[in-house]
Symmetry: C2
Subunit: 331 residues, 2 copies
C-alpha cells in the first residue's frame, strides 16, 4: 500500500508539524510531547475540554481544537492510546482553574490511561470530570466484552459540550451536558475496504472483492457480519435500522453521515440521501445533517451513521459558533 | 472496485438529493435539471458567480455554493462537462440584474459549453463575464495542446471573487479580481493511485505498486512522469519546485495542500509540513494555509499543491466570511 509519508515512525510527528504550520492562528502544538492546545488557552473562567486517542481518525481530535469545541487534544501513535503524561501536561496547559472535562472513547487503553491521568491531574490540583463514549451499537453489551466502542458520536459530545463550556457553564454542568449527549447518541459503521496502518503497510484484515463488512469499528478491526456487496440504499437500510432500533428516538435528531476516509464525497452525499429516505420511512425527523470525513479510519472505504436525539438545548448548543481546523460555524 | 452507490447511472442525481437533504438552509437543488443554487438567490444588487464542471471533484463546485462564494453550480456527469442549458437556467436563477461571472476550468468541453451558455444567457438579457482557470503547471503551453488544465486554483478564484461580489463590487471589478487570482495561481498534482469512475468500476489507468505519477490531472488521466515511489518530503520537493519555478512569487502566498480524495488527513498534514519546509528553503513566505480534500478526483490517492500570490486586497478577500457546505469562515 503506497502512502504519502516519510517513514512510518514519524507519521504522527510529521502530521503535528503540518498542523502547527497550517493553523498558527488557532493552535499551539508541542510536536515532541504530542499535545495540541487551543492557542488562547487557558481561557479565563472557562471549563476546558480535553480529548485524545490513537491517531488515524483525523480530523478527530486535533482538528476539533478551538473556540467552541476542544481546548486540547492528545494524539497517540496510530491506533494506540496516548499516555497519561500527555494528558496531565495538556490538562495543566488548558485549566483556567474551572476544571477540565476528559472526553474519552471506550477502548481499554484509552479508559485506563485517561483514568490514571485524571488521578494525577487531580493530585496537581486540576479538577477533572470524565465522559466515556459508547455509541457503537455494533458491539453487544452482554458483559463479556469491554462494552461498546466510542466512534462517530464523539463529534457530537465535543461540539455540544464545547459550546456549553464556551458559554461559561461550570464543570458539573458541562459534564452533565456531555453525558446527556453521549447517552442520546448511537452509531453504526460499514467498511467496503480494510485500512492499512503505516507500520504494517498492508490491509489490517482481508475483505474480498464483492463483500462488505457491517458493524465495523474505527481501528481496522473486522465488523460483526460480512455480506455480499450491497447498494447504497441497502446499506442505509441496515445502518439506520441498527441505530434507530437501539436509540428509539422520539424527537428530531442530529445526523452525522461520516466517511471512513477513502470514500468520495460524491458517494457519501448519495448515501446521505438514502439515510434521509430510511429515516423518513421510520418517521424520524432530522433537525440537522453533517456529511463528511470526520471520524475516520485512515484509508478505509466506507461510512458510518450517527444519530443524536437532541432536545432544544442540545440543538442550540450544536448550532453555536465553533472555530476549529475541521469544523467551523458562525463567528 | 467497490463503491457506496446504487447504480452508476444515478450517482450524480443521488448525490444531489443528499446535498438537498443535508443543506436545506443553504441550498436550493433542482435534482432533475442538475442545478444547485444559493437559497437566497438572486441577491439584490449583487453580481452572481456560477461555476460547474464534471462531477467527481467534490466538494468542488456545489460544496462551494453559498454566501461569500458561488451563487450556483452546474454539475455534469462524472468527469463530463455540464450542458449549456443547465448553465443558462442557473444564470437566470441567480442573476439579480448585476450580471453573472462564469468560473470555468480549462477543458475543451467546459469551455465550449460555457461559451455557448454565455451567448444564450446574453440573448436573454443576462450580462456574462468569464474567467478560465489554467493553473496546472504540469501541462506544457507549447500551443499543441488545449493549454493548461484548471485544477486546485479554482477554489481560490471562487472564494476571492465570491468575496468581492459579496461586498457589492460590479461585474467588471469581480471579473478583474477573478482574473488577477487566476493569473497569480499555479498547481501541481501527484497520484499514488488511479481513480475508478462508477461507470467503469475499475481504475482509469494502471499505476503499479511501487510507482507514482507526477503531474496528474483531476480526471483520472495519467500525469507527465512516472517514478518509483517517493517519500512525502521528496514529493513536496518536486511539487513545490514545479509550482514555484513557474509562478516565481515575490510576496507571501496562499497555500492549498489538497487531497485527491482517498489520502488520509493524517498523511496530508504530514505532507503540508514538508511543503512548508520546501517553501521556507526557497524563501517563499506563506500567508495562509488550507489543508484538506477540496478539489478531488473520486477515490484517487494523492495530493496537489496550489499557490496563489496574494496582494493585500486578495488576502483580505480570502479572509472574508464565507458560508458553504465545504468551506466556512466567520459569520
Amino acid at each position: 500500500m503506497k502512502m504519502l509519508i516519510n517513514v512510518p515512525e514519524r507519521v504522527v510527528a510529521d502530521a503535528l508539524r503540518g498542523l502547527a504550520a497550517a493553523h498558527p492562528d488557532l493552535l499551539t502544538v508541542d510536536v515532541e510531547r504530542r499535545i495540541v492546545v487551543r492557542r488562547d488557552a487557558p481561557v479565563a473562567g472557562k471549563v476546558a475540554l480535553l480529548s485524545g486517542g490513537g491517531s488515524g481518525h483525523e480530523p478527530l481530535h486535533a482538528g476539533f481544537v478551538g473556540p467552541g469545541m476542544l481546548d486540547a487534544a492528545c494524539p497517540g501513535e496510530v491506533f494506540t492510546s496516548p499516555v497519561p503524561d500527555q494528558m496531565v501536561r495538556a490538562a495543566a496547559a488548558v485549566d483556567s482553574g474551572e476544571g477540565v472535562l476528559f472526553v474519552v472513547k471506550n477502548y481499554t487503553g484509552d479508559v485506563l490511561n485517561f483514568t490514571m491521568a485524571a488521578e494525577l491531574a487531580e493530585d496537581e490540583g486540576v479538577q477533572v470530570s470524565t465522559v466515556v463514549l459508547r455509541d457503537d451499537v455494533a458491539v453487544s453489551e452482554d458483559g463479556e466484552s469491554a462494552g461498546r466502542r466510542g466512534t462517530g458520536g464523539t463529534l457530537f459530545v465535543e461540539k455540544i459540550a464545547g459550546a456549553a463550556a464556551e458559554e461559561g457553564a461550570p464543570l458539573v454542568r458541562v459534564a452533565s451536558v456531555a453525558r446527556r449527549v453521549a447517552e442520546s447518541t448511537r452509531s453504526f459503521g460499514v467498511a467496503l475496504s480494510a485500512c492499512s496502518t503505516p507500520a504494517r503497510g498492508a490491509p489490517t484484515f482481508d475483505l474480498p472483492p464483492g463483500e462488505l463488512e457491517l458493524g465495523i469499528g474505527i481501528h481496522g478491526e473486522p465488523g460483526r457480519e460480512r455480506r455480499p456487496m450491497m447498494t447504497s440504499g441497502e446499506i442505509a437500510d441496515a445502518a439506520v435500522a441498527a441505530v434507530v432500533e437501539d436509540l428509539r428516538p422520539d424527537s428530531p435528531v442530529l445526523l452525522l453521515v461520516n466517511g471512513m476516509g477513502a470514500t468520495p464525497l460524491l458517494e457519501l452525499y448519495g448515501f446521505a440521501a438514502e439515510v434521509h429516505r430510511v429515516l423518513a420511512e421510520r418517521r424520524v425527523a432530522v433537525a440537522r445533517t453533517l456529511v463528511g470525513n470526520y471520524v475516520t479510519s485512515l484509508d478505509m472505504a466506507g461510512c458510518s451513521v450517527t444519530l443524536c436525539q437532541a432536545d432544544e438545548e442540545l440543538l442550540r448548543l450544536w448550532d453555536a459558533p465553533v472555530r476549529t481546523a475541521a469544523l467551523r460555524r458562525g463567528r
